[in-house]
């Protein structure tokens, strides 16, 4: 369980950001890419890699937040509902003449507010986050349907639509946003006091409190980050799809959790890094995309996804066990 301390220095930087423990997963990622590339010449192309990144943009944002939460010993099942709600909210705001920037601001603030409510239920009512956010997930999804009366709402604002459509230096804006978000939140997690506190709270909330760390506030921030990012993701998705749809992004939370765990963050809390999550998201989306490129029938996609998860995680486990 202890890593070799000799190479500490050489590795320490990589370790800090990517988590050298995750070499197993990197290998899994590479193996997967090689297999798909062998099976289809269209897999490992610039165009398709961009497809994968675009498809990752929503899951990636939600997974950043989920990483924070799981490190802090929490979990959030509401990101899918928040994203759906935000898309609809954005569309309604635009319909009512709000500009792109105000719309984005309002949507993200609304998301942060939802995160705050989640944390309030967890912190003050002491309801387990799994159940608390299952409850808010239902409530928020209901609200998403209510505010649009169940009907998708079309978006016509050109500026807003350009978020999902335009590219900067050939890179789609959603991908740029994702990359920026990862950079910001990797730095925040590894360098800031809030990030450090999150690890300590996840490691032992009681000890953290007695050392003067306001565990509730730390957890609250993590929930707000998750919901805020999910809301942003939902708003971007709405732009990409040209409409806000109340039923969109169902199951997003599960994909996010999956990516997080693939990336080596443990449910026990206090362990893992956001660099691992990057790999987790790439494996997940790269795999889904590969199945689609290969045009694997839907039913088999389910089976394959399940098997991938088990395979990737056991691969990592077996590899790390050998090392000890």
């Amino acid at each position: 369980m202890q890593t070799n301390e000799v190479k500490q220095d050489k590795w320490s930087i990589i370790k800090q950001y990517i988590g050298s423990e995750k070499i197993g997963l990197m290998i899994a990622l590479v193996v997967m890419v090689i297999i798909f590339s062998y099976l289809s010449p269209h897999y490992f192309t610039a165009k398709n890699l961009m497809n994968i990144l675009v498809a990752s943009s929503l899951v990636g944002l939600a997974a950043i937040g989920q990483s924070y939460l799981v490190i802090g010993g929490q979990i959030d099942l509401s990101p899918g509902a928040v994203a759906g709600f935000s898309g609809v909210l954005a569309a309604i705001l635009l319909q009512n003449g709000f500009g792109t920037v105000p719309t984005l601001l309002i949507v993200v603030v609304a998301g942060i507010l939802i995160g705050f409510i989640n944390s309030l239920i967890v912190n003050t009512l002491k309801i387990a986050p799994f159940i608390a956010t299952l409850a808010t997930m239902q409530a928020i999804r209901g609200l998403a349907y209510i505010i649009c009366n169940g009907k998708p709402i079309y978006i016509q604002d050109k500026t807003y639509l350009s978020i999902g459509k335009d590219r900067i230096l050939g890179v789609p804006i959603p991908v740029i946003i994702l990359i920026l978000a990862f950079i910001v939140f990797i730095i925040l997690l590894s360098k800031s006091r809030f990030g450090r506190n999150l690890y300590i709270v996840g490691g032992n909330p009681v000890a953290a409190r007695l050392a003067g760390i306001n565990a509730k506030r730390v957890i609250s921030k993590a929930f707000m980050i998750t919901s805020g990012l999910s809301a942003l993701g939902g708003a971007i998705l709405a732009s990409r799809m040209n409409s806000g749809q109340p039923s969109s992004s169902m199951g997003l939370e599960m994909s996010a959790v999956t990516a997080v765990v693939l990336g080596g963050i443990a449910f026990t809390g206090g362990i893992g890094s956001l660099g691992g999550t990057v790999i987790g998201v790439l494996i997940l989306q790269g795999f889904n995309n590969g199945l689609l490129i290969m045009n694997v029938p839907q039913f088999w996609q389910y089976v394959a996804s399940g098997l991938l998860l088990v395979a990737a995680l056991s691969f990592d486990y077996l590899r790390s066990r050998k090392r000890v």
Binding site: M1, K191, S192, R193, R196, I200, G203, L210, G212
Partner: protein, 503 residues
């Protein structure tokens, strides 16, 4: 019965640590053998090898002259080897009976658990131990001391050839300790081999036939208890003379104004507690386990709600709603439950040492890593913390070294008032005397200290003044010159001062 237990050249390596190095000795049945050694000397590790929880890297052990290798603790139990771990291993939700019969609950003919037989058998053991509980009590409703006794009863309930106690008295009060000693002597009479790990020399002299002294994973010496004395043992284990620990302390004689003044404090557990601590003064809180000492200081520190009462800190009336507030004022608390409340086990030594002062180490929200490392390094050197690196997960340090890391955390904070709840629990004599020295040094710097300890010699030796509590109430105060074990116990148990000079 005539059993033997023999270790031959046992070695055990953990990454970066040689925990045991060529450990060899032999024990006869009917013997109580004590293990003595500094924190991290390898005592617990040897026991865990004996019961198959760890596997040795080299060497072997023999029971009744037969080499044996247990793959897991269960095999050891089957072979008559039971170990009471340093950490309590009870299940809160279950009853005493179910805990005592954990792993071998008796069954009725229909395949269901025979609760009647089980509870009767448990009740018998309870009576034998002379404890005030029932087999059907849920363990979560018992005091910590009683939970520890349940743990001991669990081992006692098995077929025994060898029983090992790893610091069993850390959370027991005198009454239970005496009962435990009685039990151990009975076991000895029955021919059971008893291994006994403790940092309390007094217990070792009271109980053991021989003492095995460990140092850095090696066996230093084996002594017949009757033929040795405390000074010799200490010298063997620490490698130098400690002298008279308390008398040689550099005490602070001049106290300043009140740093803390508590007036009529009440909470769910204690009522109407008033006392004060002066700058540079060491106030000892004494009492039996469960007297309410922890609950008193937790309320002061903002960890538990206060029902009524006023707190004055450094002359000003303060409202402390959370530990965060208390720390901001300049308090520090080293909690009694190290594993549950003191450390974040999977985080590094560095993170555990710096967690209370992160605000000071932060610029624009970001931690100054270099400054942090310097502070932590200073703590490691000052307190002589044994760790291969400050990045090591704290859970892999020995208990005593974990405790030192928590102390380092508060020293780095430069508190005005430091509260230490059982700071020497599970700590070796060498480290203890270091901790006493540190406490006195802090007092000399004008820091007020509150120390809670269940060890009377310690509380008498270190405190300038002692406040005695029982049943959630303050029973009296004794100053340094007045304090004797008898007078303290009189206050704690009878509520009266037999010395006649109660305040």
């Amino acid at each position: 019965m005539n059993n033997t237990l023999e270790f031959r050249d046992i070695c055990k390596n953990f990454p970066g640590v040689k925990a045991l190095d060529n450990m060899s000795f032999k024990v006869q049945s009917g013997e109580v053998v004590a293990f003595l050694g500094e924190n991290g000397a390898g005592k617990s590790t040897l026991l865990k090898i004996l019961n198959g929880d760890f596997q040795q890297c080299e060497g072997s052990y023999l029971i009744d002259n037969e080499a044996i290798q247990f793959k897991n603790p269960y095999e050891a139990i089957q072979a008559g080897i039971s170990i009471i771990y340093q950490e309590r291993q009870v299940v809160d939700y279950l009853t005493v009976g179910e805990n005592v019969f954990m792993g071998n609950m008796p069954l009725k003919a229909n395949g269901l658990v025979d609760f009647k037989t089980m509870n009767e058998a448990t009740q018998k053991i309870i009576d034998e131990f002379d404890l005030d509980m029932k087999a059907t009590d849920q363990v979560k409703h018992l005091s910590v001391a009683y939970q520890q006794m349940v743990e001991i009863m669990k081992a006692y309930n098995r077929q025994l050839k060898v029983i090992a106690f790893d610091e069993p008295t850390a959370s027991l009060s005198n009454a239970e300790i005496e009962k435990l000693f009685l039990i151990i002597r009975n076991l000895k009479k029955k021919g059971v081999i008893v291994l006994y790990v403790s940092h309390r020399l007094k217990e070792i002299f009271e109980l053991s036939d021989r003492v095995i002294v460990f140092k850095d994973g090696r066996l230093v010496d084996i002594k017949n208890t009757k033929e040795t004395n405390e000074a010799e043992l200490v010298k063997l284990m620490v490698g130098r003379d400690l002298g008279d620990v308390f008398n040689e302390l550099d005490r602070n004689e001049t106290f300043g104004d009140n740093i803390l003044d508590v007036k009529n404090l009440s909470n769910h557990y204690v009522k109407d507690i008033s006392f004060h601590v002066r700058k540079g003064e060491i106030l000892g809180l004494s009492g039996l386990v469960g007297a309410g000492r922890t609950e008193t200081i937790r309320s002061i520190f903002g960890a538990d709600p206060l029902l009524s009462g006023d707190i004055y800190f450094d002359g000003e009336k303060v409202q402390i709603k959370s530990p965060e507030d208390a720390i901001a004022l300049g308090m520090g608390l080293c909690p009694e439950d190290r594993k549950g409340q003191g450390i974040a086990p999977i985080r590094s030594v560095k993170e555990n040492a710096s967690m209370a002062i992160l605000k000071r180490l932060t610029k624009f929200g970001f931690i100054q890593k270099k400054a942090e490392k310097e502070v932590v390094q200073k703590g490691i050197v000052d307190l002589n913390i044994k760790t291969s690196s400050m990045e090591k997960q704290i859970v892999y340090l020995s208990g005593g070294n974990q405790q030192k890391v928590i102390l380092a955390r508060w020293l780095a904070h430069h508190p005005k008032l430091l509260i230490l709840d059982e700071p020497t629990k599970g700590i070796d004599v060498g480290a203890k005397s270091e901790i006493y020295r540190i406490i006195c040094r802090l007092a000399n710097q004008g820091i007020g200290i509150i120390i809670i300890s269940s060890e009377l010699p310690e509380i008498i030796g270190i405190s300038d003044r002692i406040m005695v509590m029982a049943n959630g109430e303050k029973k009296g105060e004794l100053n340094r010159q007045e304090a004797t074990e008898e007078r303290i116990l009189g206050l704690a148990m009878l509520g009266t001062d037999i010395g006649g000079s109660e305040k």
